[in-house]
Amino acid sequence: MIEKKGRSLLFVGKTMDYMLLVGIAIVMVIPFLWMISTSLKSPPDIMSYPPTFIPNPVMWVNYAKAWEAAPFARYLLNSLTVALFATGGSVFFSTLAGFGFAKYDFPGRNILFILVLGTLMVPFQMTMIPLYMIMIKLRWVDDLKALIVPSLASAFGTFLMRQFIGTIPDDLMDAARIDGCSEIRIFWSIILPLCKSGLAVLALFMFMGSWNEFLWALIVIDSTLKKTLPLGLATFELPGEIIAYGPLMAASVFVIAPIMILFVFTQKYMTKGIIITGLKG
């Protein structure tokens, strides 16, 4: 869509648009602001009635406490390692598979695709025990490999890329084939560049998924030094249902920050996918 400056969505003028945008933004951001405010509060302040937005006193020390409560630097490194490999791999394999499902009509295609999707239809609590047993056989228990390898194949990613690649006209591929391009060349040089926005979204979501993965990391990691960030957050929940809210919120801010950065970065890749010049279908 041409990014028309000055066009209003609601047919009632730019000011209404802005008011709407800001209104929605407020709804979206208030819990986040409350989180930040809590991260700077002392325990009596957090539980005070009636509640206040401005912390008094301002407990910058919560951030230090949070950082010291667990080896967060290590957790950060672990999360980063896992997320980078998991993202790179899953984007790559998903795009290959999405391409295969979208552009090739082989027997059993639909059944295999439904099979792939089917893996999403069972809650993880059920499959984690057999999966854990596999990790034991592979000797990957308490090893970051257990967090990376199973996530290299992503049904979400395969489906997403199938949809995006599906919108690319077959004519482009046929023209390239006539020119003598191999299927791999077609994939690499034609398809990939055309689904940049899909790739950007996929990379973002795969990274987020890996970054925030809690249950599987909990099950498969034992040593403190191999833990990932979400496990670090759980540190603040103590027996007796006592929660150190201040440091918990502070730690949550550390956890979100890298994703915010990644988000802004990937949005730059959300540019036009297709520029059709002179190609008549």
Binding site: P43, P44, I46, M47, S48, Y49, A69, A70, F85, G88, G89, Q125, M128, I129, Y132, M133, I136, R139, V141, D143, K145, I148, V149, L215, L218, I219, D222, S223, T224, L231, A234, T235, E237, L238, P239, G240, E241, I242
Partner: protein, 436 residues
Amino acid sequence: MFKKNQTRRIGIFIWVVAAMMIIGCPSFAGEEITLRVWTTHVLHLAREKTKAVDAVFNKFEAGDPDVKILVTQVPYAEMQKKLLTAFAAGVAPDIFVIPDEWLALFIGNNIVEPVPVEDEKEFFESGAWPEIRLCLEREGRLQGYPWEISVYGLHYNKDMFKEAGLNPEKPPKSWDEFRDYAKKLTKRDESGETTRVGYAIRHVGHPAGVVGKWISFLWTSGTYLVENPYTPGGKKATFNTPGGIAAVQLYIDMIYKDKSTSLGFPDPRDAFVQELAAMQISENGAYFRWVTEAPDMKWGFGPIPKPSGGKNATVFSEWGYYVSRLSTSKIKEKAFKFLKLITNQENEPQMKVEFPGWIHARKSTMLEDPFYLARPELLESISTVLPYGHAYSHNTRLSEINETVGLYIARAWHGEMTAEEALIKAEAEVNKILAR
């Protein structure tokens, strides 16, 4: 971004590294024995964080240098999932820390190795609370050592008592007093809406919690949930009695007749700390929240009220260290040696240095604890309440029983049915469950 050749080279490089990492390094099996310990609290057995704990570990390693101790700290709320998955997959830890509610299941499936008889003798002779046996003893043998000990009581706000003309040093002892005080402590605003309840009820959240916070009332009226409650295999529900009905009715009357409590208030502990409630019943450990989150509040801790003609009773529960029967005998031997060391009279204060105010295994440890030194009446209250302790039932189907009972009594409190109906229906379902 990069030139095509560069991209390809970078891609290949990344994949070679990845492949290497993924194919990876084999693990080495050492000669030494590894003792795998799973616990819940971040500071528990954290030798890298606490010098006193490190010193105790060193003592052990001096005597047994061939033993390596690997501690895994699992967030409290997640221990269940992780532990059960490990057992299901056949890779249990050697020592694990669990609450007594799950113990019946582990014992019922023959997973727990009981503490050696001589160790048990020594432990109790060194002054450990005899009540510890309530949760940890099965068939005459101590199954594990206590870790976190909890006793339930009535937490009350002394300032609010004074304000209502009640003696802040005398919490209510009978059900009648209890109802009377709750009425006096309730506050309403001009429009008639309750701004503070005299007593806060736990009625939402996990049914085990709902039942647990109320069950002391059931016990004080002489009723138990199940026949032979302290055996694993009771087959009949026994709570549908006049005593049981009275215990359910107590809350119903307080909600609808006295209007001294309400289902519209959140978790009682939150309500108490925010001064939205004057009294609440929960584990003693809730006072850690009062101390950190409401440091100016003057609070008291007393026994749970009993009906006239009833007996004092309260929940007594423990997380304990247990040794897995599935480990090799060499490991089990070392495990018990380790546990004996960290729980003996000399080392207990060291191990508990990060846990002031906890109910320790021995009164002697508590007498040294700065938290209690600053609050002598508290130690007094706890000593009074401890002998009233009752453990949760040892029945293996306790989870399902709690789920059912919790559901029906909550329904009665919400006014969907009378107390009698609720208990009749609950009894029928529980009997079905027990018959399976």
